[in-house]
């Protein structure tokens, strides 16, 4: 073939692979290292996995949106980094009648981002009938009334420890300026340390410092949240210096990042606990002994060490993360004991009569399904489910894992066609043990029905005396260990990584919060 012709073809190939890319890079060189990395700039760039789809109280803010909300909005009551209750926009609160009426005394000299002042009317506005939380968790609220400019009275239908509920970042105080005259949402108006600046859908959210902030003003000028759904890309962008901080480091990257010079990885036990929920309405899990035998069979230490690379804490059946309120430190938990597990199954009447390794009772084998959701926790849950499957095989239980989307799971749940579901963090807010409601007969997600349990949950939720609450919640934890409506596997650990320029960051235990007070940058 003609030499010139070959030369032309080769040039074309080179053009395609290198030429197209190299010439492009020249014009926009700084983007390879992030858009805003100017020396001494105080512009923090944070990687998150999902965008903020909603800025208003008519809907629940889910996913990573809450990390952004916690910069813009504030709640009446706050939690410190160790989940202790501290004043937020309310300086103090009291209940004159044991929890049916709550009076909050508000902080003065607080202004919203639009310049209007924060007062009792804005609290009434935020918790109006329009707010979704009034139709959900705060349904027992009968009325909210401004007693004067800085005092608000909540009247409830039944006694309830309201301040705990009001710590949740998805139910903050918003300024009436976020709506236009027709009642349509215009822009986020909060009181937080940062103001909303701009949002590019599915790309980034930019916040700037609120110079009129009532507390310690942030040392940062700007925070950009970059939306990167793929965890590997997020970690690589972080290592490349395009991000200063990632707030959900995948377990398998923790050790590698920890070993890297300049990168700081901080871990803290969060309020979330993964658990195996049983279908107690159907055989085999309608038998407490079978549920107990599962609890003795699964090695939760191996789950943490082998599956989660040492990130997290084995729960061994304990429903509450040790850092939560009323978590019983002396609770008698489970540890793997296959002999005990097999003995319990034998007591329940399950035996391997045909010697195929799987137990039988009345002619039917010990088979069950384990549902795992394809949602945000899928990566970790699928692996955990496989380890549990292996462990249960050892005691003669045949588990079929089904990884399904939430819709399919809710359908199977509706008709009761499942054995176990691997779940995490249902009804967890702040340190408060509301989570027990999931096994209450009234919960749509409950598959356990026990009157004593229901009464304990109702009593605990309507009492405000700390000593009594403690007794009741201790009793509930003991109940869960003995009756095993669910077997609790792993207390999750929150992992945040910061780059070499980031100084002054301290991780908090409350999951949806990102506390950036005290954070500053030293760019070289």
């Amino acid at each position: 073939m003609d030499r010139n012709f070959k030369l032309i073809l080769l040039t074309c190939m080179l053009l395609a692979v290198i030429g197209a890319s190299a010439c492009i890079s020249g014009e926009n060189d700084e983007t390879a290292k992030g858009d805003s990395f100017v020396e001494n700039s105080q512009d923090l760039v944070v990687g998150i996995s999902s965008d903020v789809n909603n800025w208003y109280l008519d809907k629940f803010a889910d996913g990573d949106a809450r990390f952004v909300w916690s910069q813009v909005y504030e709640t009446l009551v706050r939690l410190d980094s160790n989940l202790n209750i501290i004043p937020g926009l309310a300086e103090s609160w009291e209940t004159p009648d044991n929890g049916t009426t709550w009076i909050f005394h508000l902080r003065k000299n607080v202004t919203f981002h639009d310049g209007t002042s924060f007062n009792a009317d804005s609290v009434v506005f935020s918790y109006s009938d329009k707010s979704y939380v009034r139709q959900a968790v705060l349904k027992p609220i009968k009325s909210i009334e401004a007693l004067d400019n800085y005092t608000v009275k909540f009247v409830l239908q039944k006694p309830m420890p309201l301040p705990f509920y009001l710590t949740h970042v998805a139910w903050p105080i918003m300024g009436p300026g976020c709506l236009d005259k027709a009642g349509n949402f215009i822009k986020p108006v909060g009181t937080g340390p940062f103001k909303f600046e701009s949002q590019k859908k599915d790309q980034e959210i930019v916040l700037i410092r609120n110079d009129a902030y009532w507390g310690n003003k942030s040392l940062l000028n700007k925070v950009s949240f970059k939306i990167i759904p793929d965890p590997s890309t997020q970690v690589m962008a972080f290592e490349n210096g395009e991000l200063d901080m990632i707030i959900k480091v995948p377990e398998y990257d923790v050790k590698r990042l920890e070993a890297k010079k300049g990168i700081q990885v901080q871990k803290k036990l969060s309020t979330f606990t993964d658990f195996l929920q049983f279908n107690c309405d159907k055989t085999p899990f309608n038998d407490t002994k079978v549920r107990q035998s599962v609890a003795y069979a699964i090695d939760t230490k191996a789950l943490v060490n082998d599956v989660l690379n040492g990130v997290g804490k084995p729960a061994e059946g304990r429903p509450y993360s040790p850092n939560m309120m009323y978590s019983d430190p002396n609770l008698k938990t489970y540890s793997q004991d296959l002999d005990k597990s097999k003995a319990l199954l034998k007591e329940a009447g399950w035996e391997d009569s045909n010697r195929d390794g799987i137990l039988e009772k009345d002619g039917s084998p010990l088979n069950c399904t384990l549902l795992v959701s394809k949602g945000a926790w899928a990566a970790r849950h699928t692996l955990m489910a496989q380890v549990a499957q292996e462990d249960l095989r050892k005691i003669g239980m045949n588990v079929e894992i089904q990884v399904l989307d939430e819709g399919a799971i809710s359908k199977l749940e509706g008709v009761g066609n499942f054995g176990m579901i691997l779940r995490t963090g249902y009804f967890v807010w702040g340190p408060y043990p509301k989570h027990f409601f999931i096994h209450h007969s009234k919960s749509p997600y409950s598959h356990y029905h026990n009157e004593t349990y229901d009464q304990l949950v109702d009593a605990a939720d309507s009492t405000i005396d700390p000593q009594k609450q403690k007794e009741l919640y201790y009793a509930l934890q003991d109940f869960v260990i003995k009756e095993v409506p669910a077997f609790y596997l792993v207390h999750e650990e929150k992992v945040v990584a910061t780059g070499p320029s980031v100084k002054g960051f301290v991780i908090t235990a409350e999951d949806p919060w990102l506390d950036l007070s005290g954070v500053y940058l030293e760019r070289k």
């Binding site: 390879a32 008519d58 629940f60 998805a170 790309q203 399919a408 809710s410 359908k411």
Partner: protein
Amino acid sequence: MEYPKASEVKRPISENDRNIRRISMWKYIANRLAMVLIVIAGVTLVSFFAMYLAPGDPAELIALERYGQDLDKSQIESVREAEGLDAPVYFQYFIWLDHLLHLDLGRSIITSDDVLEEILLKLPATIELTVAGLLISLLIALPIGVLSAFQKNILLDNCCAFFSLIGISIPNFWLGILLIWLFSLTLHIFPSYGYGSLSHLTLPALTLGISMSSITARLTRASLMEVMEKEYILAARARGFDEYTVVLRHALKNALLPVVTFAGMQLGYLLGGAVIVETIFSWPGIGKLLVDSIFARDFSMVQGCVLFIAVLFSLSSLAVDILYAVLDPRIRYDMYD
């Protein structure tokens, strides 16, 4: 040398013939267009009812989105009533169709955004990535295809075959991460994610381009080798043209027909979103929107996206058919005959 039969000899083309051919071309396009419309009608049916067959209750979803996990059954029922989800399904379909004819694809269950607006917002990013990916794939594939067609059984051909095999075998998500590792982490040339500038476009477009180019290259090679056996190539050589002219002017043009079809199909697929590439590089395109909506069970958004993608796909295959007819007159003659 065999002579063609009398019936195969074409008569000289008269002005009248040309007119008839022009009309047949329009007829051909009209025919294809009608078929596209039928396909789209079918798609509306499938995309609407598929969502109803999918597990999960839309009313529960909306309620869950509004009130969080702490909801009770009465709230689900009130949502069902308010959103018209208690009406018979066929009735809901006709209402949806009516809205569709007014270009109203509804609002997202999750974000309350207008579905059509949301899709149109993502369209430029998808088109940008598609066109860049396709261009890169052709730039890589055509030279490789041509080179290997002429270097049968020697090192270069084997290298090209090896490249193609690797290109086919490597999954997109791995290639994408590898490119990020090389060009972002190691060489610091390109950003690892994001959208907005040409440098952001490079890595995702390269990922797409490389993975698509392998099949295109093999196709070009095969097709070109077949064409090179034809008599008219021999004739061209006999007339003393140099190899360059023979290949580029006589062979390649004819060999490209299957390549055009394939590239057109690829275009259709890509306009539907290069889902994996978009997710890895946080590219805000339609594919990512669709996948996000599926996971969020955003029924109206999924219906809108599926419909939109199907329409784009049908239109792009229509465009390919027309282009094909322009490139290869035999197709029009078939209609005419």
